[in-house]
């Protein structure tokens, strides 16, 4: 019940924000019958109506994971964001070893197996995609 109500609230806020953002679209020099903001306003209305429905007639709550598992997910999310940031700094091979090892460990493997999988995955993908297929993966200070 509560989850859907929250979703509805977020959806309503989103619809309002979207409609506002549509009204500040600069006036073009030449415009057609409905202009660049007509369709977005219709979308905002659909978003608002469906969100209202969630608030008024919510579905039963899904089973949310326990707090520690939620923290686990949040941390994995952070690690992935960090990976995106450091990729061009440290290069593909090094960054990928770290993140793969982390994910493997968190998905339930032992520490040693995780490090091995990290190294194997990283080098394997590097060989396949950069050396074999010639994609340019992120280069680090050492050139890989």
């Amino acid at each position: 019940m509560m989850s859907d109500r929250v979703l509805g609230g977020v959806g309503l806020a989103l619809a309002a924000f979207y409609a506002w953002a549509a009204t500040i679209i600069p006036e073009p020099f030449s415009s057609d019958a409905i202009g660049p903001d007509g369709f977005p306003i219709i979308l905002a209305i659909v978003l608002a109506i469906s969100s209202l429905y969630f608030v008024l007639k919510p579905d039963p709550d899904p089973q949310w994971p326990a707090l520690n598992r939620l923290a686990e997910l949040g941390f994995a999310l952070l690690v992935m964001f960090a990976y995106a940031q450091v990729l061009p700094v440290f290069g593909f091979v090094f960054s990928t070893i770290i993140i793969t090892a982390y994910l493997t460990w968190r998905l339930g493997a032992g520490p040693m197996a995780s490090i091995l999988n990290g190294i194997g995955t990283s080098i394997g993908l590097f060989v396949i995609f950069e050396l074999l297929f010639g994609l340019s993966l992120a280069d680090g200070p050492l050139g890989f």
Binding site: S3, L7, G11, Y18, A21, A22, I25, P26, E27, S30, S31, D32, A33, I34, P36, G38, F39, P40, L43, A44, V46, L47, I49, S50, Y53, F54, K57, D59, P62, P65, R69, E72, L73, A76, L77, M80, F81, Y83, A84, Q85, L87, P88, T96, I99, T100, L103, T104, R106, L107, G108, A109, N117, G118, T121, S122, L125, F129, F133, L135, L137
Partner: protein
């Protein structure tokens, strides 16, 4: 006989060494991805699109590779259904019902072989259906003006949830969200910036590949992280005795009527908007049960016909789903939405004009599907043992690799950390929405079709001088509106019941004993 000439030309395109090799690679990869639980056809194709694009394959070659993956995944989904009682992908759910009991009775090899043949029959005849039906649909589509196209897109969104949709408000919300995301960036008609707030990275809009890979592939990683330890799959497949892997002639003949019935049903539900492969296999199974075993004496206890029916059904449906996708440019299911993304990445706009402007692409693709079918049959009967071994790879090794391939793909097309972060954001969003039962497919389809939908609406309005009644002034438009409204409203009354039936069928099956 025009069709045959064009099909012949198509074979000339598809039968080059490079394309044959790509088809083989695609079939192999696809079967593997289908077999692995948690990596279905939509995810599998999604993570491969950016790669096929950056590898510099030409349009036909890339399409052949990726549709082979699609067909392959449809074949592969049955393997884990039969051996582990875990469907490799959603359409393979019904195969568990009789496949797993057959495996428990020591007839795993037979079940695998039979389902391989049934998959072949379904897919092969559905491809013929595609050959004949798509050009007919093109004839109708040529009558469409911008107004009709707008209504057609509305219809696609209205029916996307399908008959089993439980909450239409959530489907509508998802569709509007997807289209809203598509609006970000330069307005193609007037050149003004919309919803970019001065962020340079958003000027070109959000690349749909980022959204697809994030929502489909990366959110799967979060699901696995969430459920770690709660269900252990892939442990006992090695111990399962496979038995003989060639189906006996007698068994095939016994199941032939089943396969024919299921192929027809599957194909029809594939073509219809909002049905797709899952419903195809469900319908095929339940009708077959009514016809051959009305008192449920053998179905659910390892009846070979219960294996053949859903497999022929879902593979026929996946062929049928290509009809509206190619002829109208409107996909009816998640996986065909991903295939639409493939075409758009390659700068090919599907729809009636595709058949006129790029006949080599269409017919080359169709020919490749035929070839792929034979390859899959050849791969799946003798080499099924190899694919079953793939199931032994634990998810903690597999899922990080999937995530990394997703990162590589997006990095190789954008080369920017901003876009990678955005993909991660979509991954998290996908997990939350899945939890809340908000379907992801309408979001994807919205991002893919949103701009086209708006362009057609504005064109229609320009022609009619802003008169909104222009959207209702032809019999074609009115028919489309009617289907759209019925398709949206009907599940509100029937959805819960159909879903309950599907659940019941699942629970009455092998799980209850």
């Amino acid at each position: 006989m025009d069709t045959f000439v064009q099909l012949y030309d198509g074979f000339a395109v598809a039968l080059s060494w490079q394309n044959l090799l790509l088809a083989l690679a695609g079939c192999f990869l696809g079967t593997m991805m289908g077999a692995l639980p948690g990596l279905g056809p939509a995810n599998g194709v999604a993570i491969l699109i950016p790669l096929a694009f950056t590898l510099g394959l030409d349009a036909v070659a890339a399409l052949i590779l990726l549709t082979s993956v699609y067909y392959g995944a449809m074949y592969g989904g049955r393997i884990s259904s039969i051996l582990l009682n875990i469907p490799g992908d959603e359409p393979a759910m019904m195969t568990c019902l009789d496949g797993y009991p057959m495996a428990q009775a020591g007839r795993a090899g037979e079940a695998l072989a039979l389902s391989g043949v049934a998959s072949f029959v379904g897919a092969f005849f559905a491809t013929w259906g595609l050959v004949f039906l798509a050009p007919l649909l093109v004839q109708i589509a040529l009558l469409f003006g911008p107004g009709e196209y707008f209504v057609l897109y509305t219809l696609a969104f209205a029916t996307l949830g399908g008959i089993a949709a439980s909450n239409q408000a959530k489907s509508a919300f998802a569709a509007a969200l997807g289209i809203a995301i598509a609006m970000i960036g330069v307005d193609t008609q007037t050149g003004v910036q919309r919803f970019t707030f001065g962020e340079v990275h958003l000027y070109d809009g959000i690349d749909f590949l980022i959204a697809i890979v994030g929502l489909f592939a990366l959110s799967e990683v979060f699901v696995f992280l969430e459920n770690r330890g709660s269900h252990e799959g892939g442990k006992d497949s090695g111990k399962m005795k496979i038995g003989r892997v060639t189906p006996s002639f007698k068994l095939l003949r016994y199941c032939t009527p089943t396969m024919i019935r299921s192929t027809v049903l599957g194909f029809i539900s594939g073509v219809l908007p909002g049905a797709g492969a899952s419903l195809g296999s469900f319908l095929a199974y339940s009708v077959e049960k009514q016809v051959s075993d009305p008192r449920s004496e053998t179905f659910g206890k390892g009846d070979p016909r219960g294996v053949a029916a859903p497999e022929a059904g879902n593979n026929a449906a996946s062929g049928g789903a290509l009809v509206p996708m190619l002829a109208l440019g409107v996909p009816g299911s998640g996986t065909t939405a991903v295939l639409l993304a493939v075409l758009l990445t390659l700068n090919i706009q599907p729809g009636p004009l595709l058949f006129q402007n790029n006949p080599d692409v269409v017919w080359g693709l169709i020919a490749a599907l035929f070839i792929g079918n034979f390859m899959l049959l050849a791969l799946n009967i003798p080499m099924v043992g190899l694919f079953t071994r793939v199931l032994l790879v634990p998810t903690h090794i597999l899922m990080p690799i999937v995530a990394m391939i997703a990162f590589i793909g997006i990095y190789s097309i954008t080369g920017s950390t901003f876009e990678l972060s955005m993909m991660v954001g979509f991954g998290a969003l996908g997990w939350v929405l899945r939890k809340l039962d908000v379907p992801l497919v309408p979001i994807i389809l919205g991002i893919l079709l949103g701009n086209e939908m708006e362009v057609n609406l504005r064109r229609a309005m320009t022609i009619s001088n802003g008169e909104w009644t222009a959207l209702f002034d032809s019999w074609l438009a009115i028919t489309l509106w009617t289907i759209a409204i019925v398709g949206f409203v009907l599940p509100i009354f029937l959805g819960k019941r159909v879903k309950k039936k599907m659940k019941q069928a699942e629970e009455e099956g092998p799980l209850s004993d």
